[in-house]
């Protein structure tokens, strides 16, 4: 998998999104709201006899407007789900957070900045379906990195720790070297 802003030397280990139960609830709520709209329309039709009052077509128009709004809010929910992503590579962790339509936060965390990782699984569904939040304490500008409702959080935590160990082993001074010039510069820095 390739993502935008990926470095040529970087290898993607995992791309995470929230657990699919979030999608299930989105489908469920939208379905319930759609059924509610149709229900109100047909109940009004049946009990208030809208046709005889001349409101039948108007009620249908209201129903259509309601369905239009529901359709859009459902897809905004889907957009939110698919654009909130956590990418774990062999060099860094990237947190992409879409908030509504006009706010998008992207923060990245180098493995050298990681101080502590914890997992929080709260509630019935989280325990049963094995999803939860991962909190990474950092030494960077962003104090806390949070992965929300990710599946298999313990496995993800282990894999981040493994990446961290490997990165610190491969880059003992925290210096990343990816081309000839920077290699020479970093060697000079280390030698001095």
């Amino acid at each position: 998998m390739i993502f935008p802003s990926q470095k040529p030397y970087e290898k993607v280990e995992a791309i995470l999104r929230r657990h699919r139960i979030v999608l299930f609830f989105l489908f469920l709520y939208s379905g319930i709201l759609a059924i509610f709209g149709f229900g109100v329309y047909y109940l009004a039709e049946y009990y208030l006899n809208l046709s005889s009052l001349g409101f039948h077509e108007f009620a249908r128009l209201i129903l259509m407007a309601y369905l239009l709004m529901l359709w859009q809010s459902f897809f905004r929910g889907l957009m939110d789900y698919y654009l909130d992503t956590w990418i774990i590579t062999d060099h860094r962790v990237i947190d992409i957070h879409q908030i509504g339509l006009f706010k998008r936060d992207i923060s990245e965390l180098r493995y050298t900045k990681i101080q502590d990782i914890s997992v929080k699984m709260t509630g019935f569904w989280a325990t049963m379906l094995n999803y939860g939040d991962i909190v990474i304490q950092t030494a960077g500008a962003v104090q806390e990195f949070k992965f929300h409702q990710v599946p298999n959080p313990n496995k993800v935590k282990d894999s981040i720790l493994q990446m961290h160990d490997q990165f610190t082993r491969d880059h003992p001074d925290g210096v990343e070297v990816h081309d000839g010039v920077s290699m020479l510069i970093s060697q000079k820095i280390v030698n001095n």
């Binding site: 935008p4 249908r60 128009l61 259509m64 239009l68 889907l78 957009m79 654009l83 339509l101």
Partner: protein
């Protein structure tokens, strides 16, 4: 012109459709621009097709409404009752 002679239903309906289209453009832009992988592209196509169908259905529903069912004549006594207004 009398306040009630203005085509309020068409104005309100058009405003709702314009708001829907503008917001949909932003949703589609975000899915296209920032979504990576196959799923966001599929979602985008389904969203656009569904939106087209629903907008068509809404316009059709609007055309079906016999707007004379609104009691305009009865309502006129409550509007524009100031001096000099022709009712």
């Amino acid at each position: 012109m009398n306040t009630l002679d203005y085509n309020w239903p068409l104005t309100i309906f058009s405003l709702i459709l314009v708001a829907y289209v503008i917001t949909s453009v932003f949703v589609a832009y975000h899915l296209h621009r920032f979504g990576f992988g196959k799923a966001p592209k599929v979602i985008l196509i389904v969203f656009l097709i569904g939106s087209g169908i629903l907008i068509g259905a809404a316009v059709w529903s609007y055309q079906q409404v016999p707007w004379d069912f609104l009691p305009y004549e009865d309502l006129k006594q409550y509007f524009n009752t100031g001096p000099g207004l022709d009712l």
